[in-house]
């Protein structure tokens, strides 16, 4: 088998078997050993049991995606199997973590399965021996449950699995000991440490038929932290002075909502779990109206309910930050599977002409910086800002230098006036504050606001069209002035983003490349890895990951598209929504853009993108059905 540069380890089992926490600890241990790590999480929409796995990829080089396939499978079996009969719909769930994962295991890979949980006939039934021979796999049956039972409880099979893995891969068990020692106490700690030790010893004793070990960590220049996209969005919000969150649970948005709810009270903030998503967004508007920096969010279906308050925030020019954590749709879709199918929904939902900012961060770092920017723009320009990400980025962990987050907080509520400033500001002859000034004094499109309780700042906020003091008005002239002013903010924001040279678009590959790949959000770093592979294989390709979806980076994208002969838009949806958006915003390029689409519930792997690009280039066709290629118009 080829010597793998990176360790690509998959732990599989049933939901509720501790797969998630075990993988997190595993990733953290590898990070502490001096490697870069990246995790990918796959789980069913069930509480207990079913097919769940987490992949941990680790290496000394940059590790930005789950990689292609994986090299090491640890199956714990599904202890919550509830359909043991062979003809049951779910099949043999105990065997499932083993059977369901084999298709993606790379040639020459290693399999460790729990023979304490699986009967011999289960293993025979899937022809494991035969398949192993065909693929050069190395199979290690081991009684993980037996080891766990000896010192504690069955559920400690995961610790046994980690100990056995560590021995097979020659990883120093001290990293795992340290994590167990710090994370547990009392009998639990002692039992787990013994399980780890026994399993490690056993792993050393068995004959190693595979000939490779985990890469030895070269170390990090500075302290690293292991964070998910949801952690980073939450921390970005906190650092931007967000102290109010309202929400309703819905996967995968629940992640941010939980992190914020657990932390905000400690920071002197308020968290509200409310009756529905309409209320959630409405509360965020009410808090923001009162002068507090506020956030809400949801996933597709819940975000649909927010369509109405979202428009209210636009019309009343109340700052608002919403998070949209996408999952596969339509309707309830696949609750725990990623998709980028809500783009058009996020851009245009709500009646009338949309004036909102939409960012789609690509990774943990961007989740932090773009959430901060979303708050800054929302409060400065009095406009809703949406941070769109998906179930993939929500749950995946990667290491980032701690210093990345060493940023000053910014609690500035933006264009809110102090009472002294209100006294000086424009008022109607009747003393009513001109909250919605037709021509703001600084020549911008932002008319500064007051908040309830401030002396002299009285105004009416209304979702109806309104005049300068906020009273309902259907005067045609006023209508046009107010519409132009509100919509003009998008141009101002575009200019600000350009002027600060903090482009949110990320480029990769040789500047003079012949072909381009365009992608957005969580698929960016996977695409970049594929671009490296393609260039190494002799193609001439560059890529751009688009984060600014509204306002759209017209100049940047025009430059990119003019510089290439053809571009493939890579996205996780069935209708090519970004491709459509580019054509709408730029008004052309229908003949220059093709689409590579994946919407089976799994994100792209680098090799998917390589195959897709080669197809677009006329060098073959997609070898399997899990993706769709849509050629450019006229092709």
């Amino acid at each position: 088998m080829p010597e793998p540069d990176d360790l690509m380890w998959r732990i599989a089992g049933g939901s509720g078997d501790g797969i998630d926490s075990t993988s997190q600890n595993f990733a953290k241990a590898l990070m502490r050993s001096g490697l870069n790590v990246f995790t990918h999480r796959h789980y069913p929409s069930r509480i207990r049991g079913g097919h769940t796995y987490v992949e941990v990829r680790a290496g000394n080089g940059p590790v930005n995606s789950r990689g292609d396939g994986y090299n090491f499978l640890l199956t714990l079996g599904d202890s919550f199997a509830r359909n043991p009969s062979e003809d049951a719909y779910y099949g043999n769930e105990e065997a499932k973590p083993l059977t369901e994962n084999l298709d993606e295991l790379n040639e020459g890979g290693v399999i460790v399965y729990d023979e304490g949980l699986l009967d011999e006939e289960d293993v025979e039934a899937i022809n494991l021996e035969e398949r192993a021979e065909e693929n050069g796999w190395h199979v290690y049956p081991v009684d993980l449950r037996g080891i766990a039972r000896e010192h504690g409880r069955d559920v400690m099979r995961n610790t046994a699995g980690v100990g056995f893995t560590a021995a097979l891969m020659d990883i120093d068990p001290a990293y795992f000991e340290e994590i167990i020692s710090n994370g547990m106490s009392g009998e639990m700690k002692e039992a787990n440490l013994k399980v780890l030790e026994d399993a490690y010893e056993l792993g050393q004793e068995v004959e190693h038929t595979h000939g490779w070990t985990a890469p030895e960590g070269e170390g990090h220049d500075e302290e690293q932290v292991l964070l998910s996209g949801s952690d980073a969005i939450s921390y970005g919000a906190i650092d931007e002075g967000c102290r109010f969150i309202s929400g309703y649970p819905m996967t995968p948005w629940t992640d941010v909502f939980t992190i914020m709810s657990q932390n905000l009270p400690k920071f002197g903030g308020i968290s509200e779990q409310v009756e529905d998503e309409i209320a959630a967004a409405a509360l965020a508007i009410g808090a923001s109206h009162a002068g507090v920096k506020a956030m809400s969010g949801s996933s597709g279906g819940g975000f649909a309910l927010m369509s109405e308050p979202l428009g209210l925030a636009e019309m009343t020019e109340t700052p608002l930050v919403l998070v949209e954590a996408m999952r596969a749709g339509p309707s309830t879709g696949m609750p725990t599977k990623p998709e980028q199918g809500d783009l058009e929904h996020i851009l245009y939902t709500s009646q009338g002409d949309s004036t909102r900012v939409v960012f789609a961060p690509a990774n943990v770092e961007e989740c932090y910086t773009q959430t901060r920017k979303a708050f800054e723009l929302a409060y400065e320009y009095q406009i809703p800002a949406i941070v769109a990400y998906d179930q993939k980025l929500q749950g995946e962990l990667r290491n980032v230098p701690e210093s990345f987050f060493d940023e000053e907080p910014n609690a500035d509520p933006g264009s809110v006036l102090t009472e002294e400033e209100i006294a000086e500001a424009a008022h109607h002859a009747s003393d009513k504050f001109k909250r919605f000034l037709h021509e703001p004094e600084d020549g911008s499109n932002v008319s500064p606001r007051s908040v309830p309780g401030q002396e002299g700042g009285r105004f009416l906020a209304t979702g109806n069209e309104h005049n300068e003091v906020g009273h309902i008005s259907e005067d045609p002239e006023n209508r046009v002035i107010q519409m132009n002013r509100r919509m003009g903010k998008l141009d101002d924001i575009r200019e600000e983003l350009d002027a600060t040279e903090q482009s949110h678009q990320t480029y990769h590959g040789p500047e003079d490349a012949e072909y381009g790949i365009i992608t957005w959000g969580s698929q960016q770093d996977t695409v970049f890895e594929a671009v490296d592979e393609l260039n190494e294989a002799g193609h001439s390709v560059k890529a751009v990951g688009v984060s600014d979806l509204m306002p759209f980076p017209e100049t940047e994208m025009t430059e990119f598209l003019e510089s290439v002969e053809h571009a493939v838009v890579v996205e996780m949806n069935a209708s090519g929504q970004l491709r459509g958006h580019i054509q709408k915003e730029l008004g052309k390029y229908g003949d220059k853009l093709s689409s590579l689409l994946k919407y089976n519930g799994n994100p792209f792997e680098p090799r998917d993108v390589v195959e897709g690009f080669e197809t677009s280039n006329g060098d073959g066709e997609l070898p399997h059905q899990r993706m769709t290629y849509v050629p450019a118009a006229g092709d």
Binding site: V292, E407, P452
Partner: protein, 311 residues
């Protein structure tokens, strides 16, 4: 000068202070009961002792939604049925602001019914005035949740097969700590009840009977009325939940039989407001959150310390 100097300012106000200097022409029909709400509210304010800058009035959609166009204070005319969630967050963000929400029977008991239940349940310190004219007015006369059974309209041509909703009983079940019913035809009682409701520390629900002379000709049904506090027959203990429930049941049964009972039905002064409950469990700051953004000495912790557990 503090950031919110209007709050708690020792200013004597009269009802004129709550009349906008640029009063838009009311779009309410002549004889509309909504004028009764507006006037009662203006009349209540000097009693409450608040000035226009420290009051925020939140409305939904419908004829009632125009209330804050004709009432001088901070105003937020939200969307259909959503005045309560917007209003209660403003109260959480700045408990010093006097928060009043208003809606119609369609807005408040129909499309906004869910928010009504949950806002009452949480017992936010605010006042909710429902303009109850038993009809959709602004959309021109459709059957509403409080329209009587058999009510005929363009959308219920054979007459409604539904029993009307019982707002007082619903409010009690949901958890409101002050529940009263008054009527536009009784301006003195209305102003008195509104002043009391606003000063109540908890969720005060006032079902305000308003006649609709255009779409609900039965509007005259609201005359005459009986004040249950002044009638020997109905003198129940307003602090007793069971007696209040019975009184509400009677009042709601008799409404469509032609006997109109108004007055205070239930008052619970013991139950802490939501703000107090949240402060007690440490999930609500002592200082109004909104003030911190104007406080130059405020310290803003950053997320950096949270990174420890990610190492």
């Amino acid at each position: 000068m503090s950031a919110f100097s209007a709050i708690g300012a020792d200013s004597e106000t009269d009802d004129e202070a709550f009349t906008p200097g640029i009063e838009p022409q009311p779009t309410w029909c002549p004889g509309c009961g909504d004028f009764g709400v507006l006037n009662a509210l203006k009349k209540a304010m000097p009693e409450v002792g608040r000035n226009p800058d420290e009051v925020a009035v939140f409305t939904g959609i419908g004829c009632s939604g125009k209330l804050n166009s004709y009432f001088e204070s901070y105003g937020f005319h939200t969307i259909h049925g959503r005045s309560l969630p917007v209003a209660r967050a403003t109260k959480l963000a700045n408990p010093g602001v006097e928060v009043i929400a208003a809606g119609g029977d369609g807005d408040g008991y129909g499309i906004g019914g869910n928010h009504f239940i949950h806002t009452a349940r949480e017992n936010h310190d605010m006042t909710y005035i429902v303009f109850n004219n038993e009809i959709f007015g602004l959309t021109k006369g459709q059957t509403s949740p409080t329209s009587p059974k058999g009510h005929k309209s363009k959308t219920q041509p054979s007459g409604s097969a539904k029993d009307p909703l019982r707002p007082l009983s619903l409010s009690l079940s949901a958890g409101a700590s002050y529940i009263a019913r008054t009527a536009a035809v009784n301006p003195n009682q209305a102003a008195e009840i509104l002043a009391e409701a606003i000063q109540h520390d908890g969720f005060a629900h006032v079902d305000f009977l308003t006649q609709c002379p255009t779409w609900n000709k039965d509007a005259k049904q609201y005359v005459p009325y009986t004040d249950i506090q002044e009638s020997d027959e109905y003198g129940h203990d307003i602090n007793d939940r069971a007696e209040a429930a019975q009184a509400m049941y009677d009042a709601e049964s008799k409404l469509h039989e032609g006997e109109i009972l108004t007055g205070r039905f239930y008052v619970d002064d013991e139950r802490p407001s939501y703000t107090a409950e949240k402060q007690a469990i440490g999930e609500m700051p002592e200082q109004p959150l909104a003030e911190r953004y104007f406080d130059e000495d405020a310290e803003w912790d950053r997320s950096y310390d949270l990174l420890e557990k990610h190492k």
